[in-house]
Symmetry: C2
Subunit: 348 residues, 2 copies
DNA sequence: ATTAGCACTCGATTATTTAGAGTGCTAATG
DNA sequence: CATTAGCACTCTAAATAATCGAGTGCTAAT
């Protein structure tokens, strides 16, 4: 591939970029006319036949043009990931499209992020929320909302707030609850516990001392038992934007394709797996359908980037799902930049 | 229609019930064989021709069978609404399918309701959440989560909890915030104010007395300004379940149909309007697509029922969206019963 | 009022034809 | 030896034609 290297890249780019626009197989004639190489269509045919043998292109049927394969996209994307940076003007443009006008709570910020991702990229945005069960505790508060109803509010690092109303037998007064809140927070403060760790500590204390305080805590742990169902609950951390936006893409024009598309979206575990993978790495990642990593659906691509709260360890990842035939040089930097913006939004 | 009345009803039922199963136009021969009337197909043809003229049935094309019109459905549903009640066994069945195992916060309960609606009815569930901006306040709490970050938690009747992190210049200590919380709650307590009304009161006080307390409140009102965008924000109150479930229905097999289906779902304002209408009425309502009330899409039906918290005025409505060709005698009682169950779940 | 009989209509399905785009291969060229 | 013009070949998609059958409306008989 040595001396052909340049030719390969040029032809590949020409095919991919044209295929992005038309969604139709690209013929040798077109490539001959629209690519910097001054070669005849016959020469291009030779190159393309060779590239097909090596797995970068494929023919839908005998006498059609060529279409990029996942391997072809991969090669193409590598060069983009190295070179492309988002321009200042693009950044401004994106920022304009984002509506963070209202101060929102974290969950709404995540929702808003999905919407912005979709608006800007024209594909489906996804967000993996920070995982509550491993997040550090910031504060817990008991609030009386009825004679036998206590609202428990738990605040996690990253600004996630969870709440439940718990039922108790006794009619505690406000002062008692304030006292209990203080007592509990003095345990939490400055220790970076997560909920499970706190439970461990409390259980030990409880064996020694059996007062009402621990009764409420016990009830609390029961109602906030996030991962009792094992895997199941993780699904709630994955937020998926409007999938409909993809139905306009010609590759999903047929009924069968739409169904397989929806099947891919319903298979949340796989998407979560990839987003979690991204969370651990540093930068943007691209998963191409039928790739080794994402074999669930052919023709879809997932572009991901991690985000993280300024202070600490709370974080997750965001992404965009679109057709493999995608404007990578535009979308990749967008996802990257959105993750950056989101990181800035998470205050505590 | 006098002496034909019985015939009309029987034929209509036969057509609708068969059309529900096959989704194909129903011919006179079938009706003749499968309906209590002992009439020949020719007689049925006469009746059906007459019913078409009166608008209860229609022919997709000249030589096909007949299909019920919205008007036909309406007539059919009227008799169901009067007679059908859900059986105790069905109730048990539904209750089994509902997973309220984990004590959830109100928003998760609403989400769970949607999921159960979809599971039981096999159509798309929708829920209109209680409107926060008009809900009565129960409690407000300030919690320190950073040197300049205060988490404000507002609890509304119905158990809805909203929170925002607000930025302040001064570094308030915990005691001060507890004091402020108490002061504010003493204003709220027992007065059934909503957020807007509270704002009015605070603004008056503020003119007299300009201390830090009011500064924080001012910030709070700014960040919790729910309906500053007019209509826009109402969209957030509408939760829609998985729409994909409808794609299996034969009437949405074509690409065009799916797109018009999604268009109908995206037109949230219309759905919200109908759900709000239901909130004000007492019982179950049925809106048939291309009806006078819901002209947005042909072939869809929305069945709704209101729910309400035990104590007071917090409430909303739930519904199911499915094809007009729907098993009304099953779905209507289901929606009704689910609304009842949801009402029981809302504790405060 | 009801019904058997019959000619007729029109959509759905299948078969057939046609047009054209793009290929691979071969032989010629610098 | 890389490149290219020329040409026969392949296969799809679109257009056209043919066939089938379900269901109708109407008429005349009961």
């Amino acid at each position: 591939m040595d001396e052909l290297h340049e030719h390969y890249q040029e032809v590949l780019s020409a095919v991919i970029e044209e295929y992005f626009i038309t969604a139709c197989p690209v013929g040798s004639k077109f490539v001959a006319n629209n690519c910097p190489l001054s070669l005849s269509s016959a020469s291009i045919r030779n190159i393309m036949a060779d590239m097909e043998e090596r797995g970068y292109l494929s023919q839908p049927h005998f006498s059609a043009g060529r279409v990029p394969t996942p391997l072809g996209y991969k090669l193409y994307i590598e060069s983009i990931l190295k070179t492309k940076k988002i321009s200042r003007r693009q950044k401004e443009n994106i920022k304009l499209k984002i509506d963070f006008s209202n101060n929102k709570d974290i969950k709404n910020i995540l929702k808003q992020t999905i919407r912005s991702l979709s608006d800007v990229s024209h594909y489906t945005g996804v967000v993996l929320a920070p995982e509550v069960s491993v997040s550090k505790l910031l504060h817990i508060e008991f609030i009386k909302v009825g004679p036998h109803n206590i609202l428990v509010v738990i605040i996690f690092e990253g600004g996630i707030v969870e709440n439940r109303i718990i039922l108790v037998d006794k009619n505690y007064d406000d002062d008692t609850l304030v006292k209990y809140s203080r007592k509990l927070n003095s345990i939490i403060e400055g220790h970076d516990h997560n909920l499970d760790e706190l439970r461990e500590i409390i259980i030990k204390e409880m064996l020694r001392d059996r007062e009402d305080f621990y009764f409420i805590l016990n009830k609390m742990f029961f109602d906030f038992n996030f991962n009792n169902n094992g895997e199941e609950d993780k699904d709630d951390y994955l937020l998926i934007g409007s999938e409909e936006i993809l139905f306009d893409e010609p590759e999903f024009a047929s009924h069968d394709k739409i169904k397989s598309l929806l099947k891919a979206f319903n298979d949340k575990k796989t998407i979560i797996k990839l987003l979690e993978l991204t969370k651990e790495k540093k930068g943007t990642m691209v998963f191409i359908g039928s790739d080794t990593e994402w074999s669930e659906i052919n023709g879809l691509t997932l572009i991901t980037a991690p985000y993280k709260s300024k202070k600490g360890h709370a974080g997750g990842s965001i992404g965009v799902i679109g057709p493999a035939r995608m404007n990578y040089s535009f979308v990749i930097p967008v996802v990257d930049y959105m993750a950056e913006l989101l990181s800035e939004m998470i205050m505590i």
